[in-house]
C-alpha cells in the first residue's frame, strides 16, 4: 500500500493520518499497487482541512439542504416531517479514463435494454431462439401484454435509465442492477454539486470537473426527440404522484430544470384517446409525459383499477400514438433481477459485442445447478428476491444470523424461481466523515442515461455511501447517504506530482502547469 506519509510533512497531525482502507479498493487512494496514491493532489488538499473545520462546514451544508427544501418527506399520523438525505462532504472522484469506460458500458447496456424490449413486445425472436427462457419474460409480473405490438418513436422504451455499478477489489466496475422503470436520485447529483461549490470552493478549485447542471435540458431534448409524430414543440409534463411521494422534491427539481409543468393524475383527463390538462382556460392537449408513477398506478383503466394517482385511458393514448410516456409501461421486465442474469448473453445476442461492463456473477436459482450451489454456499452469498427494488428482502449471507439463513434456505427451496444469488462483492470504499474522523465507507455508483434517438450519460452519477461502519447497504431507505461525484475532464492533474515533487517529472503539459499553479495558490 502506498503510504500517504511518504508524501507529506508528518510532523503535524493531519486529517487522514489514521485513515486505513483496510484492504478494500479505495476510491481516492487506489489499492496500493501503484507507486503513489491515486489522486494525490486531491489528497494533499483535503489533508489541509482541519477536522473541526470540516465537521462544522459539513453541518452547515446539511442545514442548508434542509432550509432549501432538498428533502424527502416522512409521514406520521398527522405531521409531515421533512428530512434531508444524509450527505457526505468528501467527494468521490473518477478519472477521465475510468469514466470513458463507464460511459461506453452504460450506453451499451441501455441500447440492449431497448432492443430487448422492442423484441419481447414484438417478434419475440430472442425467446424463440431460446436465449432467455420464455416463461421468465412472458410470465414476469412486470411484463405488460398491453404493450404488445405498440410502436414507439425511435423504438425507445427506456428514456431514463439508472445503471447501478459497484467497484470490486480488483478496481473494476461491475453492473449490480439495471433500473429501467422510474430511477430516482438524479436531483441529488446536481444539488450535491451546487452544495459543494458553495460550501467547499477551496476543495474544488484547481480541478477541472465535468459539469452536471445541464441534466434537465438534456432530458428535455431527449423527450422532444421521442414526441409523437416528430412534433417540434411538444407539450411536455412531469406526472408526479403528488406531495406525499417521498421523491416529491426530485419531481419539483426536474419540472423546474426542464421548464415543464408538474402535474398530478387529477390534473389530466383523456377524451377520445387524447390526453389533456385542466387549465384555467380550459383543456390543453399534452404530447409527452415523463411519469414518476409506477406502472401499477399509471392507468386505472389498463392496470390497477384502484389507483387514484394515475390517468384513466393514458395507455390508450400511447397505443393510439397520440402520447409518449417515458418510460414506457412494461420496462420493468427488462431490469428484473432474473433477466439481469442473462444480460451478458442478451448483449451478445443483439449487438454481437462483449459486455463492456461485466455483471456481478449471478446464480439463477430457478436452474437446478445454481440452486444447489446457492444452498451449499448460502453463508457466503447475497440472496436477492427478483421483482423487488429498494434493497428490500435481501439476505447477506456472511452477515446473517443462523435463523435468517434457515429462513432463507426454506424460502429458496419453496420458491427457487423467486431468487437469484451473488457472491459478496468486495465493495470499494471512500473516505467519509464519521463521528470519530475520516473513515472508509462502502460506496456504489448510479450513472443516469437519457435516451431519445441516441443515449447521453450524465458525467458522474449518484454515489451512494453506506454510512454505518462495515455496512454494504447503500440504499437511502436503509441508512445510506450520498456524495458529490466528480468526473475529471483530464487525468493529467491527478497524475502530476502534487506539491511535493520527489522526483523530476517529465514534460509538463499546459494544463498541468496551470492547475498546479492554481493548486499552490491555495
Amino acid at each position: 500500500m502506498a503510504e500517504l506519509s511518504a508524501f507529506r510533512d508528518t510532523s503535524e497531525p493531519a486529517l487522514l493520518s489514521d485513515y486505513d482502507p483496510n484492504g478494500f479498493f479505495c476510491e481516492l487512494m487506489g489499492d496500493g499497487s501503484e507507486e503513489r496514491p491515486r489522486l494525490l493532489p486531491f489528497w494533499q488538499k483535503l489533508e489541509r482541512l482541519p477536522l473541526a473545520d470540516l465537521t462544522t462546514r459539513a453541518a452547515d451544508a446539511l442545514h442548508e439542504l434542509y432550509e432549501r427544501g432538498v428533502t424527502f418527506t416522512v409521514y406520521s399520523e398527522r405531521d409531515a416531517i421533512d428530512r434531508t438525505l444524509p450527505f457526505d462532504v468528501i467527494p468521490r472522484v473518477l478519472m477521465a479514463s475510468e469514466w470513458a469506460g463507464i460511459e461506453a458500458g452504460v450506453k451499451q447496456r441501455v441500447k440492449t435494454l431497448n432492443l430487448f424490449l422492442k423484441d419481447i413486445y414484438g417478434k419475440q425472436q430472442i425467446l424463440k431462439d431460446g436465449v432467455v427462457p420464455k416463461e421468465l419474460v412472458l410470465g414476469n409480473a412486470n411484463y405488460r401484454k398491453e404493450m404488445v405490438g405498440v410502436e414507439l418513436p425511435h423504438d425507445t422504451y427506456v428514456q431514463i435509465a439508472g445503471i447501478d455499478l459497484v467497484r470490486g477489489g480488483d478496481g473494476e466496475f461491475y453492473v449490480l442492477e439495471d433500473n429501467a422503470r422510474t430511477p430516482s436520485g438524479v436531483s441529488y447529483v446536481v444539488e450535491n454539486r451546487h452544495l459543494m461549490q458553495r460550501a467547499f470552493p477551496d476543495l474544488i478549485d484547481g480541478f477541472s470537473v465535468r459539469d452536471v447542471s445541464d441534466y434537465g435540458q438534456k432530458l428535455r431534448e431527449k423527450l422532444v426527440e421521442v414526441a409523437p409524430g416528430g412534433l417540434d414543440e411538444p407539450s411536455i409534463v412531469l406526472l408526479s404522484p403528488g406531495v406525499f411521494n417521498s421523491a416529491y422534491y426530485e419531481h419539483i427539481f426536474l419540472a423546474r430544470e426542464m421548464g415543464v409543468p408538474l402535474v398530478e393524475g387529477r390534473d389530466l383527463v383523456v377524451i377520445d384517446n387524447r390526453l389533456y390538462a385542466k387549465t384555467i382556460s380550459g383543456l390543453q392537449s399534452i404530447d409527452v409525459v415523463y411519469r414518476r408513477i409506477d406502472d401499477d398506478f399509471l392507468d386505472p383503466k389498463a392496470f390497477n383499477p384502484d389507483s387514484m394517482l394515475g390517468v384513466a385511458g393514458i395507455v390508450d393514448c400511447l397505443k393510439a400514438g397520440t402520447v409518449t410516456i417515458a418510460n414506457a409501461p412494461g420496462t420493468g421486465v427488462s431490469d428484473d433481477k432474473a433477466v439481469y442474469a442473462y444480460m451478458p448473453r442478451i448483449i451478445k445476442y443483439y449487438l454481437d459485442e462483449d459486455p463492456i461492463l461485466s455483471n456481478v456473477e449471478t446464480y439463477i436459482c430457478r436452474e437446478k445447478k445454481d440452486l444447489a450451489y446457492t444452498l451449499e454456499h448460502l453463508s457466503e452469498l447475497v440472496v436477492k428476491p427478483v421483482g423487488e427494488s429498494g434493497g428490500y428482502g435481501i439476505v447477506i449471507g456472511p452477515k446473517a444470523s443462523k435463523e435468517e439463513l434457515d429462513k432463507c434456505r426454506a424460502e429458496l427451496k419453496a420458491d427457487p424461481e423467486k431468487f437469484i444469488a451473488q457472491p459478496m462483492v468486495k465493495l470499494s470504499v471512500c473516505p467519509t466523515l464519521a463521528d470519530e474522523g475520516v473513515r472508509p465507507r462502502h460506496v456504489d455508483l448510479r450513472p443516469f442515461a437519457v435516451t431519445g434517438k441516441e443515449t447521453w450519460v450524465l458525467p458522474g452519477g449518484l454515489t451512494r455511501v453506506a454510512l454505518r461502519k462495515g455496512s454494504i447497504v447503500v440504499n437511502s431507505s436503509q441508512g445510506g447517504g450520498t456524495k458529490d461525484t466528480w468526473v475529471l475532464t483530464n487525468d493529467d492533474v491527478v497524475r502530476s506530482e502534487g506539491n511535493q515533487p520527489q522526483k523530476k517529472s517529465g514534460v509538463q503539459s499546459q494544463s498541468q502547469s496551470q492547475t498546479q499553479s492554481g493548486t499552490s495558490a491555495l
Partner: protein, 368 residues
C-alpha cells in the same frame, strides 16, 4: 401551457392564508399590547365573535379566559382557525406549488411554520405574547414581500393577488363589524361620540391603520371618520375600497395575460361590490347601518370565491361534459341568485391540497 386549475386554486389560497395569519397575529398583538391597565379590563371574548367561533370554542374550553383564547387562536392544533393551522395550510399550498414558486418563498414559508409549530409554552405567556405575535406578523409580511419580489407576473400572480386582496377586505370588514357593534352596544348614542379615544385607536391599530389615519385626519377620533377611513380611503392599502380596486385590476390583468375573455360572473361580482361601495359612500347614515353593510360585503366576497372557483378552479365534470379546445371553461348566465338564499361552498374553506392520497406508490417510489 396555461396555468393548471389546481395551481391557480393553490395560489389563491396561499395568498389568503398568509394574509389571514398576518391579520390574526395583528389583532392578537393589539389586544395584548394596548388593552391593558384599563378599568373595564382586557376582554378576549370578542375575538370569538370576530371569527364566529364561539360554538367551537366552548366545545373545547370552559371559559373565555385570556389564556384559553390565546391558546385557541395561536397554537391549538384542533382549531383550523389558529395561527398554527393557518400557516400549516399556507405551507401545504406552497408545497403543492413548489415547482412554480421561488425557493426563497418555500424556505420562508417553512421557517414561519416551524417557528409557530415549535413554539415553547412560555411564548404564549402574557409577558411574551406580544413579541410572539409580532414575530408571526413580520414573518407573514416577509412572505408577502418575497412573493412580491419573486413570483412571475403570469396568471398565477393574479390568483395569488386575488386571494390576498379578498382576504384583506374580508378581515377588514369583520374587524370593523365586530368592533363597531361592541363599541356601540349599550350606547344610545347616534354614533357620533361613542366610545373613547382608546377604543377607536385600538380599532385602527387592529386594522393596521392607526398611523395612516393620523397622517390624514387630525383632531379627535370620530366613529364616522374612522369607519369611512377604513372603508373608503384610497391611500390606505387595507381599506375595503382599495382592496376591491385591486381585485378588479387583477381580474382585468388576468384576462389580458390569459388571453381569454373575462369570466362574466366574476366581472359582474366585482361590479356589484363597486356599486355597493359607491352607494355606501353617499349614505350619510352609514354608521347606523354598518352591520348590514359589512354583512353584504362579506357575502359578496364569499360569492367571489365561489365565482372564481366555478370559472377557473373547478374543472371537475365528467369527461363527456368537458369542452375541449380554447373555449372558456364554463359560463353560467344564471348566476344571479337571491342574495339571502345564496348558499356557498366557500365558507367551509377546505384546506386545499392536504387531502391527497398516501398511496403504496409512495413506498415503491422511494430512492431505490
Amino acid at each position: 401551457m396555461n396555468l393548471l386549475s389546481r395551481q391557480a386554486e393553490s395560489l389563491f389560497w396561499l395568498g389568503r392564508y398568509i394574509e389571514r395569519a398576518a391579520s390574526l397575529a395583528r389583532v392578537l398583538l393589539v389586544q395584548t399590547a394596548f388593552d391593558r391597565g384599563r378599568p373595564d379590563g382586557a376582554t378576549w371574548a370578542w375575538l370569538l365573535a370576530l371569527y364566529q367561533e364561539s360554538e367551537d370554542f366552548y366545545r373545547h374550553y370552559d371559559d373565555a379566559s385570556s389564556r384559553n383564547v390565546i391558546r385557541y387562536f395561536v397554537s391549538d392544533k384542533e382549531h383550523s382557525g389558529s395561527v398554527l393551522r393557518t400557516l400549516e395550510a399556507a405551507r401545504s399550498n406552497a408545497r403543492a406549488l413548489r415547482a412554480m414558486i421561488s425557493t426563497e418563498l418555500w424556505m420562508h414559508t417553512n421557517r414561519a411554520y416551524r417557528r409557530i409549530k415549535d413554539l415553547p409554552e412560555s411564548a404564549l405567556s402574557e409577558m411574551r405574547l406580544a413579541s410572539t405575535c409580532e414575530a408571526v406578523q413580520i414573518d407573514c409580511y416577509a412572505l408577502q414581500g418575497i412573493s412580491n419580489a419573486t413570483l412571475y407576473r403570469d396568471a398565477g400572480w393574479r390568483f395569488y393577488q386575488l386571494g390576498l386582496e379578498t382576504e384583506r377586505a374580508d378581515q377588514m370588514s369583520r374587524i370593523l363589524d365586530v368592533r363597531f357593534a361592541q363599541l356601540m352596544s349599550g350606547s344610545a348614542d347616534d354614533g357620533e361620540g361613542i366610545g373613547d379615544f382608546t377604543h377607536w385607536s385600538m380599532l385602527l391599530r387592529a386594522c393596521g391603520g392607526h398611523h395612516a389615519y393620523r397622517r390624514l385626519v387630525s383632531g379627535p377620533l370620530q366613529s364616522q371618520n374612522v369607519a369611512r377611513f377604513l372603508i373608503f380611503e384610497q391611500s390606505f392599502a387595507r381599506s375595503i375600497a382599495y382592496c376591491v380596486g385591486r381585485l378588479e385590476r387583477s381580474i382585468d390583468e388576468l384576462d389580458a395575460v390569459n388571453g381569454t375573455p373575462a369570466s362574466e360572473r366574476v366581472s359582474e361580482r366585482i361590479n356589484r361590490l363597486k356599486t355597493m361601495l359607491q352607494d355606501a359612500q353617499e349614505d350619510t347614515g352609514l354608521v347606523k347601518g354598518l352591520h348590514q353593510f359589512n354583512d353584504a360585503v362579506q357575502r359578496q366576497l364569499i360569492g367571489l370565491t365561489d365565482d372564481l372557483s366555478a370559472s377557473y378552479f373547478g374543472i371537475d365534470a365528467e369527461p363527456e361534459d368537458l369542452v375541449v379546445d380554447e373555449t372558456p371553461a364554463k359560463e353560467e348566465p344564471d348566476w344571479v341568485v337571491d342574495e339571502d338564499e345564496e348558499e356557498s361552498d366557500a365558507e367551509k374553506e377546505p384546506e386545499k391540497v392536504a387531502a391527497g392520497e398516501q398511496s403504496a406508490s409512495a413506498q415503491s417510489q422511494s430512492q431505490s
